[in-house]
Symmetry: C2
Subunit: 508 residues, 2 copies
Amino acid sequence: MSSAYQKLHNLSKTTSLLNAVHYLLDWDQETYMPKDAIESRSLQIEMIASIVHKQKTGKPFSRALNALIDIETGEIKDERLSPAQLAALREWRRDYLRAAKLPNSFVKLFAKTTSSASHAWKTARDHNDFKAFKPYLEKVVSLCRKQADILGYTEHPYDALLDLYEPDAKTSMLTPLFSKLKHSLTELLREISEKPPIADEFLYRHCPAQQQLAFAHKLLHQMGFEPSSSRLDTSAHPFCNGMHPKDTRMTTRIHPDNIMSNIGAVMHEGGHGLYNADLPVEQYGSPLGQQVSLGIDESQSRWWETLIGQSHSFWQYFFPLLQKEFPQQFSNVSLDDFYRAINIVKPGFIRIEADEVTYNLHVVVRFELEKALIEGTLKVKDIPDAWNDKMQEYLGIRPKFDGQGCLQDIHWSLGFFGYFPTYTLGNLYSVQFFNTFESAHPNWKNQVAQGSLGFIRQWLKENIHQFGRQYTPPQLCEKVTGKPLSQDPFVNYLNKKYRTLYHLTPTL
Amino acid sequence: MSSAYQKLHNLSKTTSLLNAVHYLLDWDQETYMPKDAIESRSLQIEMIASIVHKQKTGKPFSRALNALIDIETGEIKDERLSPAQLAALREWRRDYLRAAKLPNSFVKLFAKTTSSASHAWKTARDHNDFKAFKPYLEKVVSLCRKQADILGYTEHPYDALLDLYEPDAKTSMLTPLFSKLKHSLTELLREISEKPPIADEFLYRHCPAQQQLAFAHKLLHQMGFEPSSSRLDTSAHPFCNGMHPKDTRMTTRIHPDNIMSNIGAVMHEGGHGLYNADLPVEQYGSPLGQQVSLGIDESQSRWWETLIGQSHSFWQYFFPLLQKEFPQQFSNVSLDDFYRAINIVKPGFIRIEADEVTYNLHVVVRFELEKALIEGTLKVKDIPDAWNDKMQEYLGIRPKFDGQGCLQDIHWSLGFFGYFPTYTLGNLYSVQFFNTFESAHPNWKNQVAQGSLGFIRQWLKENIHQFGRQYTPPQLCEKVTGKPLSQDPFVNYLNKKYRTLYHLTPTL
């Protein structure tokens, strides 16, 4: 390996190590930190973030990068590098240009504004008081529009923001994709709504927290996690923090009267966790050791949470174990009834509680609104009405107060415009990838029904995880599936699964 | 407050915040970190330590400091500052001179050498193989002698190392102090050894871990800790990490068959914890918001562990609670028998398991050896024999293998020469402080016997904690007790307590 490349990798590794420290500060804050420590914790995080920003944009790094790739033109200066290394340079340059474009003064103002806005959001949500949040959100939206201008775009200002989370995603690609998806989902939902509801009251029987945790550990063990390189803790909102492939921290939430909330969270965060654990450790600190995008990362979590964790095969193995752990709660429930119950489709107000069919309609609502906000065709003051109208139109229900409507998510208060679409991209990627997986393992259901999950992890590692950011999301999609991303595989999957479940006429 | 002073304080605060991040990395490593993460954790710690060292010795800090105090001469440049601020400048200058004296190359070599040595120590200890450790320790001793030369001294090279842990401590002061102490302790121990042993087998009855932890939380609660600003976890070796006055992290160890090991650890770390929690929060980041020295810090832990936690009054209140929590184990034990058992005196090989009478003899052994090593009058190869001879002479027992002798402590492998004496200084300070406390609260025993501990915390806060490093250890001792440090109060305390306990003739 060229010594110039090694030098760049080493510099970048120091940044990754500091980022990992940032993640630990976050993890600790959500799990074990005494609450009165929040003020000093915020200062610690601010300080680490500022050092990271300086490292990412400082002369030593830019000089090392420019020695291998012309930062301005993107022209490669060392032709002996491997294709993977060339891809790493492309990504390093992408990150550098993005970080260097934002002046320090803007970064600080953005951090300060979103910090106040997220505090204001919490209070506003608890009091269903959008008006109190409005002036804060107006400032954030204005800053995000400014951010788009600074970062630059060729087609649409929203592209500049999307690119922060999903490199190379374009509004012009998402708009028709989401539109077609919306059409298919609302149609399927309409048909399901006409069918009698599925019984699921047994899912809400009391299951003690300690036993739920023990079951969660069994799931993670079966997915292939080892306690020597991973942890599961509890927090208000489940998350996965990958500090290093050898240090994967996942959390879940335990509601004693809703065991599936915990199981879903564990499978979801476990999916993120396997992606982190199976990144190539020798590439730590380089783009080749990082997740491709939020969308691809979400495809991994949804893969395990829904495609595996809500499949009949999975519960053929795990339902008897669940019954053994919770005999009082589940011994009189059949596997088929359980399977139908965990896949119930029911329009609700809250995105994070939504089923597979309605989930992406929640995302579409947000995508359409934030795109309009960034374009300037929607005013912040008009958000509640616009939100409620769209909920009515797509899901057939209208929030009664803003806490179950436009105040439910923290994202906008933090300035995360362009983030929501990655949730849906994750779902679409997951199924499109799964179809390729299914061709390679036509017998997967039998294996999963016997509790074998290792071959799935192996397939994901070989086809996705091992490459880090060598391929952009669209390139990876083509490489794995042979086709660009489309809503069709996902829609077909839902139709096949839910038309059977709800005894509907199959689609042609 | 002068803006130059405020600027200096702000710069220093950034260093304290980064140090707190370092403490969190340490805390996490000992409590929750998956073990395979150790390699990346070491790199994270190395990076934070290096940034801290740069901040402490960099131009921005030295310029801000030099604007207020001439770094070379110590002359104050701003006469409007308060006495506390002048003291802070003195301490900032002390820290700066020390950090700036050590060249970066030396710091790195020291870190690398002690890192290998501590790894080698662990293996050597487990195999009782001093010879394998010898070459590593020789390098460390040689570096520590070099360190003393770089740091400088006027009387004795060991002074330069002592000063790292106990500012202004001198070998010429410690040598006679420790010598007199040794004389008194060996005499008391000799008399005790002639008495029949105290029964204590009930202390080793099985007490389940979860219940032990619950009792530990009760103790900390009674000492005044709140879960909103402190935590108790478990680790292989108990410690207290104060990241901020609002974030005190203590750990204990639980041996189900030795409950006093846990209780002693909790009271000990609780003592350190209260010192951290009661430092003036508005002084965070300045020397006025820091512990005076390791010796003074240890006086706080030993105060709670021994003077309070092994007192009869304390257990008048807590023994019934212990009996209630563990009726099978303690209902047939009397308070008096319990009190005698937890204060049993019995020479042993291991320092950290030693009683109040023998503990400081262990420290004297180490003090005498490390002083000779730094002087150059003892060779590393001769340590085992020298150690065993001293153990024989002072404690009347001779280690059979080096794991229970000179290989038991990690300190030397880490290059911590000059650290051990602070353990004994802590014991001496604690009793000398306690005598002043007793004059102010002659009724303390009755209050403690009723479970009241808040007035003790308050006294420590007002007399010690609130000042941070405004006074040096000798100054603080004079201020609190009106006298310089002496071994007499401690020796008198031991004689009074243990002559009663063992029915010996009182001293005159």
